[in-house]
Symmetry: C2
Subunit: 220 residues, 2 copies
């Protein structure tokens, strides 16, 4: 029998749909930090009951994206400058190592996909899409490493600072600079120079950190 099949067991539950939507809204800054998440309100928005909403919120808390207090509810958690700096330090430690191990494993398809990402990033005039394209570029390269745990951890770290990174891309010509650095990283990957790709990635991250810290007063 020939037939386009989908694995029904993988269809999303209400709670995952709510979780993904809230996660996206939080990391993109659509709900401000400190803003409370009202279960009833969210349940109505998704035309569901509060049960899946509560499951979604407890998952968000486990990811560090919200903080809850008993009988008071959940608020979107923000980051102090120190906390943001710490997460940039963390990324600067782990991402260079991941790309270093990824370079020898990169297929032509990987490099082509990454090239398409930075090309789209470079060409896009829409600041709202910069964040996504930036993440696509890096995660495409990292994925070649096959280091799933590292990738998950990086994703969580990115989620926590996504808002600040987007702000940083808009401010202070961050986007132009990121673009040049992306091209340099990509060329190092293409050349198979793992050490250089790692070092450029490290500088890319510490550079973004410095730029963000300088601008942090503007963001508050």
């Amino acid at each position: 029998m020939k037939l386009n099949s989908v694995d029904i067991s993988k269809t999303a539950s209400a709670s995952s749909i709510v979780f993904e939507a809230l996660r996206k809204a939080i990391i993109e800054g659509d709900v401000q930090e400190g803003e409370p998440l009202r279960q009833d309100e969210i349940a109505k928005l998704f035309n569901t009951s509060r049960i899946p909403v509560r499951e979604a919120i407890s998952r968000l808390e486990e990811q560090g994206l919200v903080k809850t207090q008993r009988y008071k509810g959940a608020v979107v958690s923000g980051l102090s400058p120190d906390e943001a700096e710490e997460i940039f330090d963390f990324r600067a430690l782990i991402e260079p190592e991941v790309i270093r191990r990824a370079v020898p494993l990169m297929s032509p398809e990987t490099l082509e996909t990454a090239r398409a990402s930075w090309a789209a990033f470079s060409a896009s005039a829409d600041p709202m899409s910069w964040g996504d394209l930036n993440r696509d570029f890096h995660s495409t390269l990292y994925r070649a490493s096959g280091l799933q745990y590292h990738l998950d951890v990086i994703d969580n770290a990115m989620d926590r600072i996504d808002r600040y990174l987007r702000a940083q891309l808009i401010l202070s010509n961050g986007m132009e600079r990121a673009n040049e650095e992306h091209i340099a990283i990509w060329e190092a990957c293409l050349a198979g120079n793992a050490a250089q790709a790692a070092e450029l990635t490290r500088l890319h991250i510490t550079g973004a950190r410095e730029s963000l810290l300088q601008n942090i007063s503007n963001l508050r």
Copy 2:
């Protein structure tokens, strides 16, 4: 007014109690990998309804400790040798850096607490407590860094391999070796030699990884 007060808002909800208990049972290996978590059964054990159990399970899934399939339920997730190796690699990357930054910040109290941990570890004849004392020793030292995000990430990584680490301590005289290495790390910290503490920590982790990989067939 003078009165021994407790912050009632911090009293645990049913779902956190269930979450903590399941987490402990899983990382210590009291529930085997692959074993299903029946909501009803757990709810009865804790004399509660399935609602807090489900919240607990969804949090465990977010931590990677269980995997759930829609309408089929949750099973304790195991690690392939490759996955375990990856997590050791991850630890070998991040923990040396954390201790390196912690050393200059260690107070006499920190060093004393850590000393007490390795002394208890060294003196304990009970294999079941080795895992806890081992974690206490390292986390006491790491905590001095004040790097909360790093500490959280390390805790998650430790949770994922805790079972294997415990097994490894029992097998192949892992405990004696760990003990000697703990003392060496502690002495480097006492001497304020951050670089050495970092390198010894790295060797401590990669050594445990090698030993575990050699024994991994025995564990399955």
